[in-house]
């Protein structure tokens, strides 16, 4: 099993560790609910160094990224970040990812669970003018998330974080370490993601500096458990649950990052055809008022018939009720529609809702 540069720190803190995408990762430190609320209320820190980072370099880099991703890279300026997907020729999703425009090259940030698959997929489409480098193993990634993240990070850098817009990044020193810092995250909160060399000594320096800076806000480490409940409360997709090779971006409500008019890209024809034929199902939010928690794989039922499946579900620590996402036929996708979720062989009333479940700025 692989270790991130923060592994010794997690062990020292007594984190509960699990295997995730080949890494030994912290699922929780003190408890999912407490860690979740820490991020919503002040600030929390996530080691997400398991994520994959690829650099795309060379003369053909722009054309290559434009061909391989669904969002319009032509709209992306240097210093900005774009959420996007990669699709197969049949329109199913290879992965969702972030595209960083770093001037002379692009950085793609992909899901750890898809790293090898993504690299192979990209490599297969490379041409002579483009170079693809997997820099995942030499990259540490720390996410500092929550309303007090800016007050925490401001203490550690001369970079102008107050002017740094959402989905933009800066380069420079944070805690004396060369970094790329972007205003991005997977929690729906104000937050930053900090990329730097995967050296355990640097990791220790960065970690300690961030925790010292955030001490006045009761900063806490946050594991993958709360990372999942945080993203679900704001309706963000998780690859492998809510999206995969059998779902196209339009039915997954990712039409806003699927630019059919930008020119050709891998999967475009199939997605355009699916759009023309009409989307038959849609990824929607579901809320449960009863004391029951919808979970991945549970059937969604309407009129006694199974009409879909819960793709992600949990207890919302903020709303203190069951929330889920799942695909429902378009005729049932109208917010307010009543359906049922089979929770451990028992039908439980559920209401189709828009996401996010929790409104954030």
């Amino acid at each position: 099993m692989k270790h991130t540069a923060f592994h010794d720190i997690h062990a020292r803190l007594g984190a509960k560790m699990v295997e995730f995408a080949g890494f030994h990762m912290p699922i929780q430190y003190t408890g999912i609910i407490g860690e979740h609320k820490r991020v919503r209320n002040t600030v929390g820190v996530f080691d997400v160094s398991h994520m994959g980072e690829f650099e795309v370099r060379g003369k053909g880099a722009f054309d290559f990224v434009q061909k391989m991703t669904t969002n319009d890279v032509g709209k992306l300026t240097e210093g900005a970040v774009q959420y996007s997907t990669m699709c197969y020729d049949h329109g199913g999703i290879v992965d969702d990812l972030l595209v960083y425009h770093c001037g002379e090259y692009f950085m793609l940030v992909v899901n750890a669970s898809n790293l090898d698959k993504d690299f192979a997929w990209l490599k297969e489409h490379l041409d002579g003018d483009t170079e693809l480098v997997d820099v995942s193993d030499r990259t540490s990634l720390l996410a500092v998330q929550g309303p007090k993240s800016i007050d925490t990070m401001r203490k550690l850098t001369d970079l102008d974080l107050d002017s740094l817009e959402f989905y933009h990044f800066l380069r420079g020193e944070v805690a004396g370490i060369d970094c790329l810092i972007s205003r991005t995250g997977y929690t729906g909160e104000l937050g930053y993601e900090i990329y730097f060399d995967a050296d355990p000594a640097l990791g220790e320096t960065m970690w300690n500096a961030v925790f010292e800076a955030g001490a006045e806000f009761d900063i806490e480490p946050v594991g993958l458990g709360a990372r999942d409940t945080l993203r679900l409360e704001v309706g963000f997709c998780l690859y492998g649950n809510d999206i995969d090779e059998t779902t196209n971006p339009l039915e997954a409500r990712l039409g806003w990052i699927t630019k059919l008019k930008k020119g050709d890209f891998v999967g475009r024809d199939a997605i355009a055809k699916a759009k023309e034929a009409g989307i038959t199902r849609r990824l929607m939010g579901l809320t449960v008022e009863d004391r029951a928690i919808p979970r991945h794989g549970y059937d969604i039922v309407s009129g006694g018939t199974v009409v879909g499946m819960v793709t992600s579900g949990t207890m919302s620590p903020l709303l203190e009720k069951g929330i889920a996402m799942g695909y429902v036929p378009v005729e049932l996708a109208e917010p307010g529609t009543e359906v049922e979720i089979m929770v451990r062989h028992k039908p439980v009333p559920a209401t189709v809702t828009k996401v996010p479940f929790v409104q954030k700025q």
């Binding site: 509960k16 699922i27 929780q28 408890g31 999912i32 609910i33 407490g34 458990g225 409940t229 004391r291 029951a292 928690i293 979970r295 949990t314 207890m315 620590p317 451990r344």
Partner: protein
Amino acid sequence: MNFPENLKYTESHEWVKVDGDVVTIGITDYAQEELGDVVFVDIPEARAVDAEEAFGSIEAVKTVSDLIAPVAGTITEINPALEGSPEIVNSDPYGEGWMVKMTIENADALSDLLDAEKYKSLIGK
């Protein structure tokens, strides 16, 4: 992690406290730690149960687990505090966080349960 010597244990991570023909049942310290934050305990009714029958479920944020009757008997009481404060299962699994009380049919069946030493070795502690 704590495994009181005066309790008996099951392979499905319940503890059993014997008091004459009445037993109190809960989940072990190990079980609550593995589950993480408990958000509710669902025990539908006080009724007769068979040994190894699921009499309820325990929902944590990440996962859900059945509650298994260690021996045959009749549930006489369900811990009323669980309804409003399920987190007591995490904070005090052997005390405030008990699940049910049962009258048992056959006290001999209790001898099949594990003692603290055997339970500890089962979970590798």
